[in-house]
Symmetry: D3
Subunit: 106 residues, 6 copies
């Protein structure tokens, strides 16, 4: 996978091993495996980052999800669904992040 859509990694020079594993194992291997489509992987990742309240990482993955073929309505519905399984704070936090991304805010 090209690194066009990779989130910025200002830490990569300081953490070369972590950067290498992110590039090679996570995006270069796992994300490229055919057992799940990129659309499905993005649907899963947005859902998990919502449930874990990982606000910063969620931001980039909402963008990635749109690029991978998850529609806005599907992202909205996934966050709504996950609200029940992780609690209202996780859901409304993710809703605010997704809205910003949809509106083109960085």
């Amino acid at each position: 996978m090209t690194n066009q859509a990779q989130p910025a990694r200002p830490w990569s020079d300081t953490f070369p091993k972590l950067a290498e594993m992110t590039e090679n194992m996570l995006f270069g291997d796992i994300w490229e495996r055919p057992q799940l489509s990129k659309r499905d992987r993005s649907l899963i990742t947005v859902s998990v980052l919502t449930a874990l309240y990982r606000t910063e990482q969620l931001r980039g993955h909402v963008t990635r999800a749109l690029n991978n073929g998850v529609t806005r309505d599907e992202i909205i519905e996934a966050i709504t669904h996950v609200t029940f399984y992780s609690g209202w704070p996780c859901g409304v936090n993710a809703a605010a992040v997704a809205k910003e991304v949809f509106e083109g805010a960085k």
Copy 2:
């Protein structure tokens, strides 16, 4: 319950189902049930948001708690108590948030 004291919801137009459930189920039904007073519900909610490190949601609920009859001393004591059950980072994070709210900071 009127929505005077509802936290702002900039995402509600984008997430109409989530907004509807927040308004009707969570605040319109659960919070209005008589089995626990609003004072008790606020004491519980501030405690849980402290333990889960939900900083943004905690801010609004500290204000709501004061409006629902939880005293400042009770909020301070609840956060102190919860520090033991969720760890020092959760406690000091909530302490900083509560102090800002008490001092009228937004």
Copy 3:
């Protein structure tokens, strides 16, 4: 939605409001919405329960996922993917649960 595939709820008599909301809101409303297929909802739910280390609830949802059209290979791949986003303990815990379900253990 019929309650054929509902997880057992031994607590429902003691917690009637929670049982009502589980039946009506969660399974009767959210799970039935067309914005995401049941297959997608199950893929999301198995992933989130893996990430949150909710072992008991994961067990029933792996069964539900198979019934909703998620293949074994997709469940295996979702858990593998989520391992990176929530850590090795979450992943291996979910792998053990999924294996038991696949083998027909209750």
Copy 4:
């Protein structure tokens, strides 16, 4: 506070410092402070242990709550309320634990 209602501590000989702090700081100091009643402290603790999915510790604290003047209906309502703030798995897990305690199971 007497240790009649203290949870069993099989680890206390192996972890003397932890046992000392549990006895003196947590139960001997914090729980005895007058800024919140024992009834309120128990309401808070049951709620937080529900939200954090601390099944084993929740068991003992439901019993303690009943001893401290929280009614069954209040415990049921607190768990129901907290379900919204921490997600369905936390709520149903706590509901199952509370039901067992109510029915006199250890």
Copy 5:
């Protein structure tokens, strides 16, 4: 690294990719890197599994820590220290697990 001290993996046939990454990346690469000793890595891992309440994985890693040169007293102290940063339930849960391991229980 040999798999003498590896935790049992009943799921490895069903999850071959996860098993491969566990064997090669996690234990074969990360754990073998010289930037931190195995003794330090075990001290860290026991601490993190305590803080995350990963009871099952903690069990095997307490054994591994003893094999990697962390003393019992250091394990006891680490768990006691981490109790403050993750809360009493995490600490007492880990204390119970460590005690069982020390006493040779499986």
Copy 6:
């Protein structure tokens, strides 16, 4: 222990009991115990705060770790190791924080 290296506590006047326990119990007692060196305690604390995604508290503890004799390379390696046990978002979040601290940012 002197309070030279203590993190700022703007909440301490509002939360005197929490401030007292932080000063006396946590830093004055636990951190000073000889059963683990300060270097080991810092290695543990940075690792746990990474795993729990406690960004604000991690910032101060990376500084403390450097002062307590943990090298930059050891901090980098600990965060890399913990990434596997708590997930990529925790690891990259901690990497960004550590980088800022190393570069002398506040």
